[in-house]
Symmetry: C2
Subunit: 353 residues, 2 copies
Amino acid sequence: MARKVSRRGGNIVTIHDVARHVGVSPMTVSRVINGEKNVREETRKKVAEAIEALNYSPNMAARSLASQDSSRIALIYSNPSMSFLSELLLGILHQSSQSGCQLIIESCEGPEGVADVLDKLKSLGVDGVVLPPPLSDSTRVAKALREMGLPFVGVATSRPSPDAASVSIDDFKAAFAMTQRLIALGHRRIGFIKGHPNSYYSQLRHEGYIAALTKAGLTPEDKLVGQGYFTYRSGFDAAESLLMRDERPTALFASNDDMAAGAVASAHRLGLDVPKDVTIVGFDDTSMASSVWPELTTVRQPISDMASLGLKMLLEQIRTRRSGQPYAPVHEIRDFAIIERQSSSPPGEDATD
Amino acid sequence: MARKVSRRGGNIVTIHDVARHVGVSPMTVSRVINGEKNVREETRKKVAEAIEALNYSPNMAARSLASQDSSRIALIYSNPSMSFLSELLLGILHQSSQSGCQLIIESCEGPEGVADVLDKLKSLGVDGVVLPPPLSDSTRVAKALREMGLPFVGVATSRPSPDAASVSIDDFKAAFAMTQRLIALGHRRIGFIKGHPNSYYSQLRHEGYIAALTKAGLTPEDKLVGQGYFTYRSGFDAAESLLMRDERPTALFASNDDMAAGAVASAHRLGLDVPKDVTIVGFDDTSMASSVWPELTTVRQPISDMASLGLKMLLEQIRTRRSGQPYAPVHEIRDFAIIERQSSSPPGEDATD
DNA sequence: CAGGCGAGTGATAGCGCTACCATTCACAGA
DNA sequence: TCTGTGAATGGTAGCGCTATCACTCGCCTG
């Protein structure tokens, strides 16, 4: 064997190769890669070009070994929606491969499961934890983590713990915006299906709905509001009673997509066309929203972004703590988006006009 | 600073600590960790105990750096169901953290997107690719990968490329089993909703259905079979025409969950109760299956297992290839499971009896 | 013009682990 | 007895990168 031909089909471009190519030391290349200052602009540019030319890409293993910066981050979840999970994972994965941190994914079922999982994390020597809902809203989990001295970040949490970092959207504002959108479409009798009373964002979303109506000079009416529990079935039932009123609403805003889908089924059952006879919109933009027919207009959270940002914040928090500095928790709010699909239209019209 | 206190809360137990604790060389500990032979059983045991006692856990970065074994694996996907994706990711993630390989997740949209993504993979120096459906069934993608000389593995593929590795379930057998289950429940007029004609497993599932009927002495009838396209809407439409026949089927087997959900909606629209008036079952066990009401009886693939195994096989393939040995592609078949939920029952009965 | 300073760069020494070879030892066959 | 062999272990040298400190300038200050 004449030369070392190794993994990745011989594609072993190292920092040294880049350095030699430019005529600087490996250190300088390292500095450029890590965006450190104290590198002349001219040098930086030459190095960047060489990196491009040689198609160099840093070896994560070596990097985190040398920098002692390899953090172990756990993501623990307890039955979130699968589509939520997958977006979350995508975001987390993206960020973790950029930051070169090791990821541990754990599912925990039930309230005692959490304790077990936390024990496990401790023995695994985890450095920080990412918490998606519903765990992100659990004061119990937050407390346990705090007692263990483990940094954590809540992603898409409706009730951020004031002393822990979080990334979320403004549920109130989102519900407000969606309601406004319905009003702009020409709807005046807009029904609402609440989420599970346990959950704080049920309340926020409801409040957003009320606020938008009020602001538009419409009177919120209790009889236009149904109680749901975030399930398809509960949406079905709530919609049924709402739609069987004499003066039925021309639009229905469900607090999540599953309930909206149930509401669509209910409307169909009653012989009503969606959106011609009744507009139905959801919240979350889960896969359900685009699976049913007609596809649901809904509110979308940038889950992947939020997760990615959350991990970044967590890593920063860990770094800050390690350096002994105090850490002030950051609460980031991301923008939501209203996704218009086929389940909404002006009252009495088809969506496709 | 008296001693080096570093990441993971000072939990810097290295292989040397373990070695010292036992009184052997680090090499021996390394051998134990990697399950190599040529270590006396007694030594192995002592080392294992020390590992346990010191709560040692190997540093992945160092390991993959030293062993030059760090493979970059890409997972490329193109709009699979999100819940499928998340299970897949869970499995892959689990395996990758065990094998210490770097993961790159890429989405590719459309047929030209694939080419772009493959280019990107090439420039990233990827060592292997995991292909979930529908990419796993694309002969075009398989061909491109082969031309690049990149090892790959298809996960949940219905048409494994004979010269590439794959993990899947037996779609035929699964459809066969589900149909048998319906027959065992007492159904005799069992309708079937086919999937998209493009897709090979549409065909396999259909054939499984036919075979089971035949085996039970029932005559497959064309008028009990509807054409669908894997969408909710197509399931709705197909079910509608099937259920409006004079002699309507007492059970409907849809080739996936979205169509089954559409079929349920259609039944409801026609005033039929599920499962009392008609049993409806799906395939895949996506989140749709447990979101709708009644929840769907369906066929479940062990996606997470399949993904995990697939990655393992891929890694092995890469290792084999690197060592210059020829690689014989392996086709693994995993077991499916029939998940009974509320959408099925004996004809004319409620599921809950 | 000595002295100081800070920007830009290089040399060196590992990070924790494993590949590879050397070494030891026991025991079989000549 | 002398190799030969293979099993069990240890020593050494890095893997690709970065922390750290040392160094060289040019330029400012007194």
